[in-house]
């Protein structure tokens, strides 16, 4: 896939989000800023319910923001005068619990984007979908429904469904949260392989530290609600990374560094005892 490396830079500047459920203001994100370079794998780590997903929803255009601005490649997505970004195929989301349409086969799911965007005819889109699924090792199940394949396979298909649109940014919201450790490590390798091929900018939310360091170029640790940037750790382990990377010395040192920052926030979050926001 022809993908230039110089696209998909995200600027999050002084973003604040205040929810107002039942007349009580809740600050989910407070003056949060981060710069994500084009083609970077950026991992957002923080305690559950800290407002990471709020940030992702703002970028994707599911929710509005209260203050600040978000830019993609210098273009304003949302900001003053335009609180909510338009949804678009340049920013593709992979959802926490998976959102492949259960009433379409995997191939139909993948072909859906190009078809509704009218960039491809149905037949061509389905053909390309089958090719891309085969490339991701799903060639045998293209005509199965999501309910018939494993969660790992369906998550992989969901990433293919995103990539067929040639997005600038891939937004992943704890996509491997419900998976067992073995499946997870296979998913990680497959995602890294996909990244090496496409060099798409990845915005990845997680609270799994090993996952964050293994996959990321940068790990942004955020505070418990309201969400603010606490610390940025640069992961300088060279790519390609394999599962052996995780037992290396430099990996262990980075783990400690991130863990320290996260642990503090986890304690605060636990003491606050707050429930997760959408």
């Amino acid at each position: 896939m022809a993908t230039q490396k110089n696209r998909g830079a995200l600027s999050i500047r002084n973003v604040t989000k205040i929810y107002d459920p039942e007349g009580v203001n809740v600050m989910a994100v407070d003056n949060c800023s981060m710069e994500i370079a084009a083609g970077e794998v950026c991992m957002i780590v923080g305690p559950s319910g800290c407002g990471k997903t709020t940030l992702l929803n703002a970028i994707a255009g599911f929710h509005s923001i209260t203050h600040g601005e978000i830019l993609l490649d210098g273009e304003l997505l949302c900001g003053p005068g335009k609180p909510k970004a338009d949804q678009g195929a340049e920013r593709m989301v992979v959802f926490q619990h998976g959102a492949l349409f259960p009433w379409m086969t995997l191939a139909q799911n993948v072909a859906y984007g190009p078809m509704v965007q009218r960039t491809m005819r149905k037949k061509a889109a389905l053909e390309k979908a089958r090719d891309m699924l085969a490339e991701a090792g799903l060639g045998d199940v293209t005509d199965k429904y999501p309910g018939e394949v494993s969660s790992g396979m369906s998550r992989r298909a969901e990433i293919v469904r995103a990539l067929i649109n040639d997005p600038k940014v891939l937004l992943l919201d704890e996509p491997y949260r419900a998976m067992d450790a073995l499946t997870k490590s296979i998913m990680h390798e497959s995602l890294l392989e996909t990244y090496d091929r496409t060099k798409v900018t990845i915005f990845f939310i997680t609270h799994d530290l090993e996952e964050a360091i293994f996959l990321g170029d940068k790990v942004h640790v955020v505070t418990t609600r309201p969400c603010q940037l606490k610390k940025t750790v640069t992961v300088d382990i060279p790519r390609p990374r394999t599962f052996e990377t995780q037992s290396s010395e430099e990996f262990r040192v980075l783990m400690e560094e991130v863990n320290e920052a996260v642990h503090e926030e986890a304690i605060k979050a636990f003491q606050a005892g707050e429930r997760e926001l959408a």
Binding site: A60, G61, F62, Q87, G88, A89, R91, M92, V93, F95, H97, G98, A99, L100, F101, P102, W103, M104, Y112, G113, V116, Q117, Y145, P146, G147, E148, R161, N165
Partner: protein, 295 residues
């Protein structure tokens, strides 16, 4: 070691059975479970109790009710004692008339109810208009509509069909709306991300997502349609199974009355099965997902 680890050979299956072959495969399987035998035993016990009350012991007041022997004698007789059997034309005519009315009522109710429910589920605005009215009209018992329907519509046919349609419409609309509500927000978001227009979302998310609820609703609604049709036929009708039942009662011939009831049971069940089969055929994805969960 002459041989490596022994593995159990799985018998080679040539091809997964489909269509009729699959049906017989499942039939064969089900005869290995207690289900069919328990069903048969249940029916037998029920008929036996009926016989015991009405014909065996002749319990007080039950002795006026025809038992299974009397009913089946008449039902399968070419010269029925009380005038109705599977060999008489009027029996089939009653069934035909009722089925035809159900077909019309169910079609109208589905044709209006499903789109209405979909739009009410999809658009806040349409719901704000229609939902309060629907919720006020819905609790009014169908029998309470009888006088009004006779005043509104001429003849025998139209009021009866109106009542069946009305009952069915409420169920279908409400279930369809709830079906749209049940769709996970993530599917709407995913569709939005992928660049769908509103119409694309309606076609590809709202309709298929609500389909399982719609068909549950349709199964209930066809039952409700039968229920209110028969009630309406009893009050104002000139043919049909409901009319047969009440007319036999008036004329003091009890066997056709029971025949009418049993027939209603079978025909109602059959229509419900037809709706379910149509649903399963339209929702392969749903059936397969449920099958994999062992249901």
């Amino acid at each position: 070691m002459s041989q490596t680890a022994a593995t159990t050979a799985i018998p080679q299956q040539s091809k997964a059975p489909t269509g009729l072959a699959l049906f017989f495969y499942r039939m064969g399987k089900s005869f290995q479970t207690p289900t069919p035998y328990l069903t048969i035993l249940g029916i037998f016990l029920w008929v036996f109790t009926w016989w015991l009350l009405c014909e065996g012991l002749r319990v007080d007041r039950f002795d006026k009710i025809p038992g299974p022997v009397a009913v089946s004698k008449d039902l399968f007789s070419t010269t029925p004692f009380q005038g109705v059997s599977i060999f008489t034309e009027n029996y089939w005519n009653h069934i035909y008339v009722s089925c035809w009315r159900i077909a019309i009522a169910f079609s109208i109710a589905t044709g209006i109810g499903v789109p209405l429910g979909l739009f009410m589920g999809w658009s806040r605005r349409i719901r704000d208009y229609a939902f309060p009215i629907l919720e006020t009209l819905r609790p009014i018992p169908i029998l309470a509509w009888v006088p009004l329907s006779i005043l509104m519509f001429p003849g025998f046919e139209a009021p009866v069909i109106f009542l069946a349609t009305l009952a069915s419409l409420f169920v279908t609309t409400l279930n369809t709306m709830l079906g749209v509500d049940s769709i996970d927000e993530a599917y709407f978001r995913a569709a939005g991300c992928l660049g769908s227009s509103n119409w694309d979302i309606f076609k590809n998310v709202v309709v298929p997502g609500a389909l399982p609820f719609i068909f549950t609703g349709l199964q209930i609604s066809i039952g409700v349609a039968w229920f209110s049709l028969v009630a309406a036929e009893m009050v104002s009708g000139d043919h049909g199974l409901g009319y047969l039942i009440v007319d036999s009662y008036m004329n003091n011939v009890t066997v056709p009355m029971v025949i009418g009831m049993i027939t209603l049971g079978f025909v109602g069940w059959l229509t419900s099965v037809m709706v379910r089969m149509l649903g399963n055929w339209l929702m392969q994805w749903h059936v397969k997902a449920l099958a994999l969960q062992g249901r």
